[in-house]
């Protein structure tokens, strides 16, 4: 039976979002085509909860490689190991979620195996000649549709946050097969890339232009200490805090967090403008954000002209309500995850 594999990455006891998308898409395609779906997870002391979570996606089997060598990601070890495994088991498709590891591993692995790779896929469609993969290019002007020359293995990495995540609820019946590390890495530890230090990037350290979520404050926040509300919201949403020129001039925030013509130009997925009236100089720095939520006491403030959604009210009153709602949603999600 033909197989479609999903490469699973996890952090702690949670499967990363990109891998959840890859698992869901693998199961969807396998169901449609009558193929077998397989999750492939490598690591050291893989928590049982990760395997349970994999089962909730409805895969037919999980291949587990639990070895000390996999305690840290290494391009060479993973490439060596996966290339041998893929050659031996010969699945038709390997899906990887959109992640830094996939970005590093997938091209190298495809070169080792001599198989085609399409990155940042937004849609997969099976045709008689194999998978046709849609991806964006020349943003935002073009969609490109690729197919593979070889009918053997094809590799696809998914664009982040595009594919729907679908769980089947309780853990489905699936086989867990444990694999061993049957060869030695080709390069000695001395030769490989070493991780010297890892620190968690605080929202305040995050580069504004990278952030997917930006929570910005202006004069309407009234005082520098009220920016802790913005920090709290940004922390909950995994984003960072920005400010208007006025807030920077008042010394409420540092200059490197300023958005606008003389500050940084940002284009996040979500921009929450709190107590910002929307001077043209500020709008020019943020109006290309995908979704803009504006909170301001003045219903005629120019910020509402560019906002996707607006709340007329004092940001200092509105933000605590939103923070509580997000906190509740997060604890709900955690509870659900733990009870599964």
């Amino acid at each position: 039976m033909d197989e479609i594999w999903a490469f699973v990455e996890y952090s702690g006891e949670k499967i990363l979002r990109g891998s959840q998308e890859a698992l869901s898409e693998a199961v969807r395609q396998a169901t449609k085509l009558g193929w077998r779906s397989t999750a492939l997870v490598a690591g050291h002391q893989i928590p049982p909860r990760v395997l349970e979570s994999i089962g909730r996606f409805g895969v037919d089997r999980a291949l587990v490689c639990d070895e000390e060598s996999f305690s840290e990601y290494s391009t060479y070890l993973y490439t060596d190991y996966l290339s041998l495994l893929l050659r031996r088991q010969a699945p038709k498709v390997l899906l990887l979620g959109g992640s830094a590891v996939a970005r590093n591993l997938a091209p190298r692995l495809s070169a080792r195996l001599g198989c085609g790779l399409v990155t940042e896929a937004t849609y997969l469609h099976h045709q008689p000649d194999g998978f046709h993969v849609t991806r964006a290019a020349f943003r935002p002007h073009v969609s490109m549709i690729f197919s593979f020359w070889s009918p053997d293995l094809c590799m696809i990495t998914l664009a982040p946050k595009v594919m729907e995540v679908e769980r089947i609820g309780p853990v489905g019946r699936f086989a867990i097969e444990t694999l061993g590390l049957r060869h030695r890495p080709l390069l000695s530890q001395k030769d490989t890339v070493k991780v010297e230090r890892v620190v968690r990037e605080m929202p305040s350290q995050m580069d504004l232009s990278d952030a997917e979520v930006v929570v910005a404050g202006g004069k309407g926040m009234q005082a520098g200490e009220n920016f802790r509300l913005l920090e709290e919201l940004a922390d909950l949403l995994g984003g960072t805090v920005a400010a208007t020129r006025m807030a920077v001039d008042m010394k409420w925030r540092s200059r490197d967090s300023m958005v606008g013509v003389t500050g940084k130009v940002v284009s996040p997925g979500l921009y929450v403008a709190c107590g910002i009236s929307g001077a043209i100089q500020h709008l020019m720095g943020m109006q290309s954000a995908e979704t803009i939520i504006a909170i301001n006491t003045d219903p005629n403030a120019p910020i509402f002209r560019v906002a996707t959604l607006g709340i007329v009210g004092d940001a200092r009153e509105v933000l605590p309500v939103m923070i509580d709602a997000f906190r509740e949603a997060r604890s709900d999600a955690d509870r659900q995850e733990n009870s599964a």
């Binding site: 990363l16 391009t75 992640s99 830094a100 970005r103 591993l105 997938a106 091209p107 190298r108 495809s110 070169a111 001599g114 085609g116 790779l117 399409v118 940042e120 964006a136 020349f138 943003r139 002007h141 073009v142 969609s143 490109m144 549709i145 690729f146 197919s147 593979f148 020359w149 070889s150 001395k190 490989t192 890339v193 070493k194 010297e196 230090r197 890892v198 990037e201 995050m206 580069d207 997917e212 909950l236 949403l237 995994g238 984003g239 997925g269 979500l270 979704t291 002209r305 906002a307 996707t308 959604l309 607006g310 709340i311 009210g313 004092d314 509105v318 309500v321 939103m322 709602a325 997000f326």
Partner: protein
């Protein structure tokens, strides 16, 4: 290796400037070449600037750019020379424009293989087609260590390694990698603005052009993926038309109306202080999957 500095190779791609729209030919389902506005790949220019800074720090270093491009685009490549690259090599053969990322990496590897170098610095992807594959494939073909998506690069020739800062999944990693290595860059300072005398000098400089036979290849490598067609992207689904939990019919209508920019003013405003609006908006953000809670 020349002098005591580092030898740095910077693969350069010429890409379409995505500020300008491209035209898709309805017959061939490919981009009409006349709609291209060619520029140096912005991420490759960041890699070049990183290389120039290393050259400033370690006198005796040299930078060689390499690009697969037709003769009529040679003028754009001279910008690299004007900025401070010591040499630019152009590789071209008719049909090279059809090569996929793997094919491009094979051509680059065949050219670079014979050169002495310490570092290959490249942008992590092209700004137009955004494959993001060539760097890693090149590292595999040359048997090099690789670090992708670097933010800062700090070579230490004395200890024969390079320190790299990389950001991923909300973490900052400091990595050390023995030389020689291939590093792809994601962010960094913009390419310096060349001085006028350097521009004049670059305009007169010779650009070495190599054909496939001079790099030991007989034909353009067979592609592994096939471009079926290009289409304009499908319009985005209006999220307001989907099920929106907790919104009244009026609020839904307001959202639909506010989808068009000119109608946004007053179109979609929730009035506080009942605080329910804030709650609704928070729910809406989650229901519409505008964010994924970390």
């Amino acid at each position: 290796m020349k002098g005591k500095g580092l030898g740095i190779v910077v693969p350069i791609a010429l890409v379409h400037d995505c500020q300008y729209p491209v035209v898709i030919d309805p017959a061939s389902k490919r981009i009409d070449p006349s709609s291209f506005h060619w520029v140096l790949n912005p991420l490759d220019t960041i890699a070049l600037e990183q290389a120039l800074r290393i050259k400033d720090r370690f006198p005796g270093s040299w930078i060689r750019g390499i690009c697969i491009c037709p003769p009529f685009l040679e003028g754009i490549l001279r910008e690299c020379l004007a900025a401070g690259a010591d040499e630019v090599v152009r590789v071209w053969e008719e049909g090279a424009q059809e090569a996929d990322p793997h094919g491009i990496a094979v051509i680059l590897a065949a050219t670079i293989r014979t050169w002495p170098f310490h570092l290959i610095l490249a942008g992590w992807r092209r700004a137009d087609v955004e494959h993001g594959q060539t760097g890693s494939i090149l590292a595999e073909l040359l048997g090099l260590r690789q670090v992708t998506s670097a933010r800062s690069i700090d070579p230490r020739p004395d200890s024969g390694e390079v320190r790299i800062e990389q950001r991923a999944s909300g973490k900052i990693f400091t990595l050390s990698c023995p030389l020689p290595a291939l590093v792809t860059v994601e962010k960094g300072p913009m390419l310096r603005y060349p001085k006028f005398p350097d521009r004049r000098k670059a305009a007169r400089a010779a650009v070495l052009c190599l054909g496939l036979d001079s790099i030991g290849l007989t034909e353009i490598p067979s592609p592994l993926i096939r471009l079926e067609r290009m289409t304009p992207p499908k319009p985005k689904r209006r999220s307001a038309l989907g099920a929106v939990a907790g919104l009244s019919a009026v609020a839904m209508l307001q959202r639909i109306v506010s989808g068009g920019a000119p109608a946004r003013r007053d179109g979609n405003i929730h009035h506080c202080p009942d605080k329910m609006s804030a709650l609704k908006v928070a729910r809406l953000i989650l229901d519409e999957k505008l964010v994924t809670l970390p």
